[in-house]
């Protein structure tokens, strides 16, 4: 017990000292960090695999993985230089950050299709998005609502024809049938529903309505791109290599993720990795390679955000989404 106390206190002091040391040595070596948008889970398997298998180290990067949380804004932390790289929100998040003049640049996009979907009970009589008309449709009002607006527009529905309500971060109201339609992510809430034995549902994918918004942007700062392009390239190479390895060795990847997190359920993580693989290798994820940035869908998302008033002025997409690094990633690292 007492040795543990000493260890705890020692750890605290060490943390304080290394914190100070990090400030001192920032100019000298390359301790770099990647900030995730959430806590350790299979959604970030590629990053954890790249670290555990030594891909970052081999690329000359002394990498620290910083998990995120509900109060962590990856865009701000990366743009400010507090973190070198990040797995940030997605197309919308990068566009908003650029509109706010944050010097943030996306160098890759993890998820190739929209990871959000809409669910309705089979007996509800809702057989297509067009049937959302007059129904209570719940979505998260922290960004994904614009995807819903785009989907409705694509299906020829007006927003006021649908009763759009705010969805909490729990599927309980949908389970209690307070909503007719709810939003899920393919890699978490949909699995949660299935695990709770709710299988009498229909899933509507935005991509089927022609709405694609790529998520989990791989980002860095303008400063990094200007001053240390080699490191940016090394990071993207190693990260995509990590993803490829994770999909080719899923069981090992789950082991690595389980070791990195705490209190994770293996079955959850396996299901999550399966779904993450699906959204990352869909469409151009296979034809072009992992991490491909679909400029056409990005352009459409921006146009939609402006149409819905979420953005005031368009940003220069060429400087916000820099494909140059991705193009230089060897095919062996990104092609499945």
């Amino acid at each position: 017990m007492s040795t543990s106390i000493t260890q705890g206190i020692a750890a605290a002091f060490l943390a304080a000292i290394t914190g100070i040391a990090a400030i001192d040595s920032a100019a000298a070596a390359d301790p770099v960090s990647v900030r995730l948008k959430w806590v350790a889970q299979a959604q970030f398997a590629g990053v954890y695999v790249a670290k555990a298998k030594g891909f970052y180290e081999a690329a000359g990067l002394d990498m620290t993985i910083n998990p995120g949380g509900p109060n962590v804004n990856v865009e701000t932390l990366v743009a400010s230089g507090a973190d070198t790289f990040g797995i940030a929100s997605g197309t919308e998040g990068v566009l908003y950050a650029r509109e706010k003049k944050l010097p943030l640049v996306a160098i890759g996009m993890s998820q190739q299709i929209t990871p959000f979907a809409y669910v309705a009970y089979t007996e509800s009589g809702i057989n297509s998005v067009k049937d959302f008309k007059g129904k209570r449709v719940a979505t998260w009002m922290v960004g994904p609502q614009y995807t819903l607006y785009s989907v409705l527009a694509a299906e020829g529905l007006k927003q006021d024809e649908v009763n759009i309500v705010s969805q909490p971060f729990s599927m309980q109201p949908f389970i209690d049938k307070q909503f007719d339609v709810a939003t899920v992510t393919l890699y978490n809430e949909l699995n949660t529903l299935k695990e709770q034995g709710i299988t009498n549902i229909k899933v509507f994918m935005p991509d089927d309505s022609g709405v694609t918004t790529q998520q989990d942007a791989i980002v860095t700062s303008e400063t990094m791109i200007k001053d240390k392009p080699a490191e940016v390239q090394a990071f993207l190479d190693a990260t995509l290599k990590g993803w490829k390895y994770a999909f080719e060795h899923k069981s090992e990847a789950v082991d690595i993720v389980m070791a990195a997190g705490s209190g994770l359920e293996r079955k959850h993580q396996e299901l999550m990795l399966d779904e993450i693989e699906r959204v990352m290798t869909a469409k151009a994820g296979t034809t072009e390679g992992l991490g491909y940035m679909d400029m056409k869908s990005i352009e459409t998302v921006q146009a939609d955000l402006i149409k819905f008033g979420a953005m005031k002025t368009p940003v220069d997409l060429k400087s916000a989404f820099d494909s140059a690094f991705w193009a230089k990633v060897p095919d062996a690292d990104k092609k499945m």
Binding site: S4, G8, I9, A11, A12, A15, A16, T18, G19, A22, S33, R35, L36, W38, V39, A40, Q41, T64, N66, P67, G68, G69, P70, N71, V72, N73, T76, L77, S80, A82, F169, S170, M171, Q172, I175, N188, T192, Q196, A260, G261, S262, G263, L264, E265, H268
Partner: protein, 249 residues
């Protein structure tokens, strides 16, 4: 301890709640989403036992370090405020203003300053802990009886003697009140701090349980946090009984 005393002890109340949980949930067929049966919760806790212990320990370290730093700073500022009106006028309003800033807003800055280190959590725990201690220290020090001060002064007591022999002993019961308030806030601070990114801790596990909607796990963590809070509060009560048994009035 006889049976009646045992029946009224704090341990007994835990047993009563556990028994009620055990019996009433199946009896009224409470949906597991509202309150899972106690055995389910315990089994879930057992299934993640090593992570739970590691998380408990980490959160405890963060809480205790933040709390201790809060005691040092809080008592320090309390003494400084009572010694100098200028200090009080200059700093107390700032502290009050700081206390009204939601910890979430402050936490984002702490992450930029300290990154994902244990320091970040300690600082957030400290931020929540020090204010009640500072205010209660100040209040306690102001309670020293002017007649006694006059008496001690007439015997030639120095400022230090006045402080150590009269003001501080008078203030200690109040300081302990501040500490008891602060220890619960430190725990909340440590848990919120973990929500700014970490891999170990009760706060991290709570976040994951909420994300995956593992209701039994949420209850496991509620119990774990409650146990830690009670443990720390109990330690302070023991400290109080052992060393600060007197009352000011």
């Amino acid at each position: 301890m006889n049976a009646r005393a045992l029946a009224r002890s704090p341990v007994a109340s835990v047993v009563y709640v556990a028994a009620a949980w055990l019996v009433l949930v199946p009896l009224f067929k409470v949906q597991p989403r509202y309150l899972p049966p106690l055995p389910v919760v315990l089994a879930d806790g057992l299934s993640v036992w090593p992570d739970l212990v590691a998380g408990f320990w980490r959160t405890l370290v963060e809480t205790v370090l933040g709390f201790l730093a809060g005691v040092v700073l809080g008592v320090g500022f309390g003494i400084a405020f009572s010694a100098s009106r200028i200090m009080e006028r200059a700093f107390l309003p700032i502290f009050v203003a700081l206390q009204t800033v939601p910890v979430i807003a402050f936490g984002a800055i702490v992450v930029i300053w300290f990154g994902n280190t244990i320091m970040a959590k300690v600082v957030i725990a400290l931020y929540l802990a020090f204010f009640p201690i500072a205010v209660n220290t100040l209040r306690g020090l102001e309670l020293a009886d002017p007649q006694r001060i006059a008496l001690m002064k007439s015997f030639g007591a120095s400022h230090l003697q006045l402080f150590l022999k009269l003001a501080l002993p008078t203030a200690l019961p109040n300081i302990l009140i501040g500490m008891k308030l602060a220890v619960a806030l430190s725990l909340a601070g440590a848990i919120v701090g973990e929500w700014f990114g970490d891999t170990v801790g009760l706060g991290v596990m709570l976040l994951q349980a909420l994300y995956f909607e593992q209701i039994p796990r949420v209850w496991v963590l509620i119990i774990a946090c409650g146990a830690m809070g009670t443990l720390l509060y109990g330690a302070l009560v023991l400290l109080e009984r052992r060393f600060v048994w007197w009352r000011t009035d």
